[in-house]
């Protein structure tokens, strides 16, 4: 079985993002970029399934500009067998990304597609579900435990009410939540090995995917700031203040 893994490059989660003063976007020049944390978890899960003998091949997929290659090399260093780089200079919205994945699925015929539940830049939380719909296959989103046996995935999902367990026949789409696993660290020898692993570059335009731009972002703003409060000296003063506001 092959596993396709979405591997998006985003602004590092430790960066406190700044909105440009003219509201035209956020400052990304010179900002540290990293793999989307949920995608690292997706890749780790795929690698573990390969190590258990459930899968034979793990393919990382990135959609983005020419310099995305270095990022995909990190995925190869972590352990993916090969990478596919869908090359485009334009930002891609989730429905378009899902359509790209569908094209790659037609070619690669994976048994499983694992994506992060959301990317920490646009926080959309859409691509996996959209892909599953277009592919007409099961989706198991927000996964915290995955077991594959007898042609199906048994997935524990983190939902608001607790933990939901569902069964999904393969092929299927899984999206990862934080507690699915702890991704491994990349070791230096693996970085050297990754240099000889293949990266297929596919021009976005050659896929015949209609870019969807139903949504236009017209303005970026900084969030409303909370005003700084007061420090109280002890428990009694705190309770008195909360009672005075009618909160207790």
């Amino acid at each position: 079985m092959k596993i396709l893994v979405g591997y998006k490059r985003v602004v590092d989660y430790n960066v406190r993002i700044q909105v440009k003063p003219d509201g035209s976007g956020v400052v990304t020049d010179g900002v540290k970029l990293s793999a989307n944390p949920f995608d690292d978890i997706a890749l780790e899960e795929a690698l573990r399934l390969r190590e258990k003998g459930v899968a034979e091949e793990v393919i990382v997929v990135g959609i983005g500009p020419a310099d995305l290659t270095a990022h995909l090399r990190n995925g190869l260093a972590m352990g993916a067998n090969r990478a596919i780089h869908v090359s485009t200079a334009d930002a891609v919205q989730p429905l378009t990304a899902a359509r790209v994945f569908l094209k790659l699925i037609e070619k690669e015929q994976p048994g499983l597609v694992i994506l992060g539940k959301q990317a920490i830049d646009d926080d959309a939380n859409q691509t996996g579900q959209m892909l599953a719909a277009l592919w007409d296959r099961p989706q198991a989103t927000f996964a915290s435990k995955v077991e594959i046996a007898n042609g199906k995935a048994t997935v524990t999902r983190e939902v608001d009410a607790g933990l939901e367990v569902i069964e999904a026949e393969l092929p299927a789409v899984i999206t990862t939540d934080l507690r699915l696993n702890e991704p491994r660290f990349i070791k230096l020898p693996d970085i050297m090995k990754a240099k000889s692993k293949p990266i297929d570059v596919i021009e976005f335009g050659s896929l015949g995917v209609e870019a969807n731009d139903h949504l236009k972002t017209t303005h970026y703003a900084a969030p409303a700031k909370r005003s700084k409060g007061v420090m109280v000296k002890d428990a009694a003063e705190l309770i008195a203040a909360l009672k005075q506001k009618g909160l207790l």
Partner: protein
């Protein structure tokens, strides 16, 4: 004119308050009609609750055994069919809606607006990105159906009780897949208020130190009638279950009072509490970032301070 279809969220035969919050967002579109769609095995009691929500024009039900559990793969094709004739489909941005809405959008071939914070015009919305560190204004193409999830913390629940609208059972011609099956829901049992709709929330973080120590948080929360939440660090460390996590990837909440105890305040956590009325921080590190957003801060050892708080009540 806009016609909005709101998808009802429910569990155990009861309507979730997230539905009435999504109705509030629908009201803000200022359309001609707001219909609530209930998909369930037995829709009666849920539909009756929905029919009381102010602003709703009609409640539609699709009652069939396949709808016993909220499987997106099963519900989405029915919603996509039922959406014909509507300009907007709104779903609460809870794990239910986040799972479901994109599947509906893809079936309709349209983009989705996630986590709507405000409705500026019928096709113009504000939503957060980068864990709420930027707010964008997005315009949807009026030629297509708008599928959106509604950020529940940004909307108060539409009032309930004075309204009583018709409930109509509908049928849709949609093939339902059997490739996805519900197995079970493991639910924590709790008599405490629901974290997402509670007026008061007490949360504990890594500073609490252990699962056993978390009792001090539960006890204090019970004293003041609060729901209990936790930081990601506390959940990862196994102090409490996942459904208690507050933050970018957990629950986004807006209680009147939020008390963060032993929580340093990573930006991912602050995202989940920005809309709280009053934030109280108790932490032994006076430099912790949580104090930058707190209305009231108290520096000290939580194990000494909580008993003192209880004495002062």
């Amino acid at each position: 004119m806009s016609k909005i279809l709101v998808i009802a969220e429910h569990l155990g035969g009861k309507l979730n308050s997230s539905t009435a919050r999504a109705v509030s967002a629908a009201v803000a579109v200022k359309g001609e009609a707001i219909d609530v769609l209930v998909l369930a095995e037995n829709a009666g009691a849920i539909a009756a609750e929905a029919a009381k929500i102010e602003g709703v024009s009609r409640v539609l039900t699709i009652a069939r055994p396949e709808n016993a559990h909220p499987l997106a793969a099963v519900l989405a094709p029915q919603i996509a069919k039922a959406a014909a004739g509507y300009s907007h489909v709104f779903v609460p941005s809870t794990t239910f809606g986040k799972d479901l809405a994109p599947r509906v959008a893809a079936l309709l071939g349209v983009a989705q607006v996630s986590d709507v914070m405000s409705v500026e015009a019928a096709h113009t919305f504000k939503r957060p990105i980068y864990a709420g560190n930027a707010i964008i204004t997005v315009e949807a193409d009026p030629a297509h159906t708008v599928v959106a999830t509604i950020r529940t913390a940004s909307w108060s629940a539409a009032a309930s009780g004075s309204n009583s609208v018709p409930v109509e059972a509908i049928t849709v011609d949609a093939a339902l897949p059997t490739h996805t099956r519900f197995v079970e829901l493991q639910q924590g049992k709790s008599d405490r208020p629901d974290l997402q709709s509670a007026r008061k929330v007490v949360s504990g973080g890594r500073g609490v130190g252990s699962k056993e120590n978390f009792d001090i948080i539960y006890k204090f929360a019970d004293r003041i009638g609060a729901a209990v939440g936790a930081s990601r660090a506390a959940v990862d460390a196994g102090y409490c279950p996942n459904e208690m996590q507050v933050g970018q990837t957990g629950k986004i909440i807006a209680p009147e009072l939020y008390m963060a105890i032993g929580i340093s305040g990573a930006i991912q956590h602050l995202t989940g509490i920005k809309d709280a009325g009053t934030i109280v921080a108790i932490n032994k590190d006076g430099e912790a970032p949580i104090f930058e957003v707190a209305d009231f801060g108290l520096v000290g050892d939580l194990f000494k301070l909580i008993p003192e708080l209880e004495l002062s009540l």
